[in-house]
Symmetry: C4
Subunit: 229 residues, 4 copies
């Protein structure tokens, strides 16, 4: 069943190692068939190199496995919570991609510093609040979705297609699984650049001596250039 | 028409992923035929893997499409503004390459810290001023060229073949499209090293204990060396 | 003898360059046959590209070579010390992987900042104390194992499968050689992210102007979007 | 003439892109035949992809071209100065490798923070003093060698096989061209790790909440583990 969606979800999962967003099996992509109310998601703990489209697992919106020889990703309840709340989305991605995770670990959202972010995200990419002891100890993965939803009370998930889970890592979503991965790649780029922007802004040092600057430019470009000719 | 220039512009565009300057389609290269007053530029939104030389778009200096089945890059008006002002240049590149974009996002030019920069750029690589509300809301892309031109009132664009657009990213240029890409690669290298130079200059810590330093060097190089023999 | 373990140790060693954990020959993996009391370890100074399974060296728990045409890794006494103390482990890895080494050089353990670490390590990954002059000058490599063991007086090596040797680099272990390499990869990821988390937490700067943020998002996503269509 | 040395110098030059030490043609390796008093060096401005062993240039110790259809590297006078002063060396390398150049641009030597450095360099890797206006304007490349030699008045070039030229980049040397490249790779690794060690040492932040740490470890490793099984 859902062979096309399985193929789509499989291919989207395979983009995670291609774009260098995962180490080992630390990531998962899902897609939803809204009409049937069924989700297709990566199996748990299967290596990317060995994974096939037919290994994808089908679950319903209560988390029951409808088809599949493997267990669904441990993060399935988080995906489900997002699909239930964000009606327009068709795909969800979770990774521990480095720079987005660094912001998650710092407990900070990513402010908009440049147009690369503004091309995809309308304003700050939020970081979730701390989960309570109760939320962590019972239904942890479903509650991970709950704190994400909490962060979007006043945000449009179509305008901000991603979030940082505090002390954990990013989730992104999109109109389909491929689009959700696209946003995961963008988030990682943005996070890397935001990190370095924040640090840089505090520092300034003295430039090189003028005479050395002149020498180097002129030996390649001046009227008597002799370098690399 | 302009088949040679199309090939040249196509090949220069394909260097952007090769040198790791772009994610997805976040970059574009153009070239100009000064005699005919025509510009050849990358089509908008076409993936690098699928792009062919014949997909390049020909536009005139008013931005009218003269030939091409695709729309020209959204940044075409910026390229046009630069070709109009800087008479010696034959190619223009725009990317969101990471380290140059980080400086753009910090709103800072790149001071000359070393000979790598001085070999190509004569002094600081400027960062443009903030655009006004009006400049952003009307003819945004053309005005992006306008603030670049503003930054070069007292600079020679042949001596400083690139600029950082504030909160956006770098533009570079050169005598032809390939040369403009060459300068984009150099700018990215320079930016990475300048960032790290600025940060480093503030820090210093204690070295390792002498006895450990001596042990390691001597077990490989001393008269009684026994390591890796 | 021990042909299976040799193959296993050889393959685990070859994962070090695959996961970008070593430069030249700066790393080694060993495995133990607990029943026979014999260790199989990488030969000293042999390049990864030329190494074969049959080049692995067999040593006993006193460090005597039992089989092998090469000398065993200079770090063999450290591996032995760990096997003697940590009864449950079946494989040991040593590298100078960049980010873990950076923490070693800073003399600091890696605190748990996120779930990536908590998935594998229960709490802080410790950094060893300074070695004494005597420990360095006599039986240096065996004493390197000694200071590791010292760090685990109150830690469970099954729960914290790795350590940072001060001013040196990381050792990790696992139930077999492959598992020990797996933990070495995880440690390097964790170290990279912890470094950047620690620095980031101190910094915050101003975001981009709202009007520019709006323009970029709306030209791609607003009702009058015209970018990359 | 000197066909073997040409081959050796050519192969050593080709290691520079392999080890990611150069952008474009920003690096060069030479070797010396001490008996004949002749140096073989990379030609100026030739791309690595097109270079052949027979393109290497032979010069004498006064810098006269003895054989070769190309001009020798612009940095030849620096190499010559080093061969004249350091009698034991057989190969010299110059690059603008990123991390070593960052230290050069900061005007700082690399202190020994760990055993990776101590395995190859005995103590701090020095950074040269500022060159005078006269040294820069006349015989700049030869004087670049002069300030290097100045830095080694009290250092053994066999024990410290490299240097950082202020505001420029690194030179390394060795018993032959291949060994000099080996040291260039090591220097770059050391520089990257020293940079990050220096920055890290200043920072420390709070770890993640204990309850989250426990949850993640126990869902994979506790008696009721359910993650990735």
């Amino acid at each position: 069943m859902l062979e096309n969606l399985k193929k789509e979800v499989y291919e989207a999962n395979m983009l995670l190692p291609k774009y260098n967003l995962v180490t080992f099996t630390w990531g998962n992509v899902s897609g939803i068939d809204r009409e049937k109310g069924l989700i297709v998601i990566k199996p748990s703990g299967v290596e990317y190199e060995k994974m096939k489209a037919e290994d994808m697992v089908v679950v319903d919106l209560e988390g029951n496995v409808v088809e599949g020889k493997y267990k669904p990703s441990s993060d399935t309840p988080t995906h489900i919570r997002l699909y239930k709340e964000f009606n327009e989305i068709g795909g969800v991605v979770h990774t521990h991609s480095r720079w987005a995770t660094i912001f998650s670990q710092s407990g900070r959202g990513i402010k908009p510093y440049g147009t690369t972010q503004a091309d995809y995200f309308y304003g700050e990419i939020p970081c979730t609040r701390d989960m309570t002891k109760e939320e962590i100890e019972t239904n942890y993965e479903y509650n991970t979705g709950e704190v994400i939803v909490d962060s979007f009370k006043e945000l449009n998930p179509g305008y901000v297609p991603g979030v940082l889970v505090k002390n954990h890592g990013p989730f992104t979503w999109g109109k389909d699984p491929h689009d959700a991965v696209h946003n995961a790649v963008v988030l990682e780029e943005i996070a890397m650049m935001a990190w370095n922007t924040e640090i840089l802004t505090r520092y300034e040092v003295n430039p090189m001596p003028d005479v050395l600057k002149n020498k180097h430019f002129m030996r390649k470009h001046g009227p008597n250039a002799y370098y690399g000719q």
